[in-house]
Amino acid sequence: MNKVQKVGSSILILLNVMLVFLLIFESKVDLPLLFAPLGRVHPLFLHFPIGVFFVAAFLHLGSKLFKETKLDELLQFLFLISAFTAALTALFGFFLGQEAGYAAEQLKWHKWLGILTSLILWVAYLSLEKSWKFSKPLTVVSALVILITGHLGGEITHGANYVFAPLQKETEKAFDPKGPIFSEAINPILEAKCLSCHNDKKMKGELNMASLSKIMKGGEDGPLWLAGDALNSHIIQSAKLPLEDKKHMPPKGKPQLTPLEIAILEQWINQGAKTDLSIAELSEGDSLRQMVMKQYGGGKEEKVYEFSAASESTLAEVKTPFCTVEALALNSPALKASFYVTERYDPATLENLKKVSGQLVELNLAKMPVSDEDLDLISSFENLEKLVLNSSDVTGENLEALSKLKNLTSLSLSGCVLEEGSLDKLANFPALEQLFVWNTGLDVAEVDAFEKSNKKVVVSRGFVPTDEDMLKINPPSLVNKSPVLKAGEKVQLKHGLPNVQIRYTTDGSKIDSVSGDIYENEISVEGFAKIKTVATKEGWYVSDQKDFTFFRGNYKADSAWLLAPTHSQYPGVGSSTVIDQKQGDKANFKDFAWLGYKGSNAEILLKINAKDKVKGLTVSYLKNVGSYIMPPQEIQVWAGNDRNSLKLIASKSPEALKEQGSVTYEGVNFAMDKSYKYFKIVGKPINKLPKWHGGAGQEGWLFIDEIYLY
């Protein structure tokens, strides 16, 4: 016995400390699912402490009536059992209380008293064990606490006022939007939150809110509201004071007005505090009407579904990464399913949705290869309201299968290639309201006829381009990633639209929708090339011209020397700049990939590998007129097999610029008639910028980069 008491007693401490702890930190409790069944046995388990304790209490209080010598020991045992079961009951109750669905107000007192019961029974046990003198009065108090706690618990389960309800008559009244707004919407708020302190019996602040006429008399602070002026109305002011403020109403600790309730009162007062106005008279968009509807239900107008929800396990079975199935909203049994990623569409997944055929109200199969036969399966989803088949393989042949769907209100067929007469099959759809037939290839007359004979269906035809929608097509774009082509690489062009013709020239001649060559697969270029392109397509205006420039070399020079210094600001990376097979960034001339010259000539010597048969070379330079970087006045090529005795073999002067133009790569090609061991390139910057330039008369820059050998 002693041992039982010892162990029981320490478990009791543990349980009670835990209870108090849980109570203090209740807001942080997140109950593992494991504990939920324990919570559910609370209503069963609670009978133990009540039963055992009352037996024990009778024995204790009436101990004089018994002569049993071992009564003390028995009593201690019974008290321990009742304290122990009470602690467990309280704990289970706490678990149960964590479940959703209990009114916090109602629960609060039962919870506090439940835990108090556990504590008080524990103290009662201790008092008995230690033979304290207040043991008997404590037993009486405990019994009372148990009774009250039990009653409060009963009210949670069976409803408030359960015991005396049969003696009272029903007074509950439903909200009627056609009734006067004061009695339907305003007074219920006041009754619930104000009346308990401001009534005929209890008139705090000399305010009585038992009826409209009594409210209008006001209290010691004057009238409750000023029609049309919520800001200065006493009721709004006190409701909006901080909770801690003494004048805040309802006082701290009492049920508070919700923000929506305050907003309703405020809006009603601002709109003149008219008592006889009815909600139905207000326009649908009216704020007051919407708030009142929200407060008294019907505001959200949520559709109620009769069918029951699918189980979690069924839901898990029908979901895949490519088919999302989820509830329409919290606590709604209705489901919507959407398929994603065409390439991963699996007909078995659709088949599998049969498991939730009763719950499915929305189904999105856009872009999936759903065929006409699949519509038979879809027609078994009896509660379907919205079906999206955009850009699927449906041809319209089997559409009448869907007429079995009695709730189908919205059907999207946009982007499907529908056969003639498809719409006739939709004539007997009982609930159809919206139909989307954009880009289906259907005859305008057929759609017109359908619209005419199905007045309640809104048919959406979408955007149909007309001749006025002739637009300029965008120019071609480039497949190659870099303007510098590798040995053997060809130029490739592309256009994002199908059936586009690309025209081009490589020799700098004019290009338009009829001139130039038609692009087939690729274009071969060598050295420096400027390709002009346009795109054309039936039903579109020809695109703007777009130019692309390319460099292509076949050989890499053995070595290079800078015979004349660059300008000190733009030294590049020295002589290797021109043979590193990299082209400097045209958007950034400060890049160390350019050799800059001003006021003095560039002189660059190249040594060619003996095995390379060089047919020509290209000197690349930058054109950036805004930054004073101009084409050279002249480029000379000197060649020979002895670096000390080179001969001038060619010279070219690019055409002088007439206007600013854009920033571009430029280059000059020199064809060779025979092989040489050395080349010397001489580049002369222009010494005077042209008259039209902002810096007319000043010296121009020459920026040289890679010298390509081909």
Partner: protein, 484 residues
Amino acid sequence: MDKDFFNNRMNVNRRHFLGKAAAGIGGIALGSLLMPDLFKGGKGLTEGLPVGIPHFAPKAKRVIYLFQNGAPSQLESFDYKPKLNKMAGQDLPESIRNGQRLTGMTSGQSKFPLVGSYYDFKQYGKSGAWISDLFPNIANIADDLCIVRSMHTEAINHDPALTFMQTGSQIGNRPSMGAWMSYGLGSENQNLPAFTVLLSRGRGNGQGVYSKLWTNGFLDSTHQGVLFSSGEDPILYLNDPDAMSKASRRKMLDKLAELNHMGFDKNGDPEVQAKVQQYEMAYRMQTAVPELTDLSKESDATIKMYGPECLVPGTYAANALLARKLSESGVRFVQLYHQGWDQHGNLPNEMALQAEEVDRASAALVTDLKQRGMLDETLVIWGGEFGRTNYCQGGFTEDNYGRDHHPRAYSIWMAGGGIKPGMVYGETDDLGYNIIKDPVHVNDFHATVMNQMGLDHEQLTYKHLGRRYRLTDVAGKVINDIIA
């Protein structure tokens, strides 16, 4: 052995210091096992509803936010003020300005000459909405739009105003709208991120955008906006390297998952399983993303609707089209930013350039969603971070002027997603300076957007640094008048 087991449990629950002591402490420890969030921040579980499911049946399932970055002038777009043209050149009366603070750019001006719109306005649609000649295509869909002319904000400079518009706070690092939606509603399509971001730049004077605008803030990093780059590869590093076949990638992932599961059995860290899931999602994205960028299946009509620019990656039109495709693929929140709307000077010219770039594609997006039956469930929002002043900044000539920042009133429009179509909401005074009817604060705007998505803005909270946060923080009310 016992110790191993104990450590393992600790790993799983991350409770390293509890549970070893006598009865009293033991009670606390037992209790604490029931509350994973006791010692760290976390979801506001007690008052917050479960995340991942809308609180009530939503009108909109997805949002496309066409953010006009830099603040387009409401006075040349949707807020018609002919009186400004009549009073052009006169000084803004102090009674109207009423102490409004100015930016450093105009605070030194000795005069504030009023200036009217260089562009004419006409009425469109059944609502008779006034829309300027700069936006002919948007004007054509006036009956699908709800134009709100009474937006107002608290910030007067781009960075705080943008940050406020996007995150509900002028100071950075709170979660962006899209991140809140992702947190509250989860992803519709498990093969794509729930929140994506697309950037484009116009020809007008621009302002920067930066990743803090699409941050997850204190929310889990899975809710961060994913920036799609404008090149051929919208998501970098997603594709397999050259010469790696799909089959060998699959094999590698299977083996890796096997190893990871072994690791999980050993240490019990749930992050390991999360990682396996992420690898799988990336693998699925390898097929989902190319489908998005492939325009070859778009009809000619679609391309004509958006304009041929939509074939050029990185343009506003291309982003608008991509936004439709993303939305169609179940991406919750698509955030576009179009830069270049900061017209302090040269407004008539720059605005025409900007409007030309966005007008056709913006209208096309709404029409495209509508013809696919998606407009009902997709909320499209168009607008900037604040408005522009009714007086001129800098030199004022007949056909050239500028406008400074103006937080007190600006215009945005919304379409679809259960917002009333064909409606104009709110009103400013004759000089377009102050709101005189139905103001909509940024917090109200956020509350309304959340409401359309089926979320109660007061319920969706996240606990961080000791308090619960909302997108609307401690303010905001749903503007019921614009809800259909």
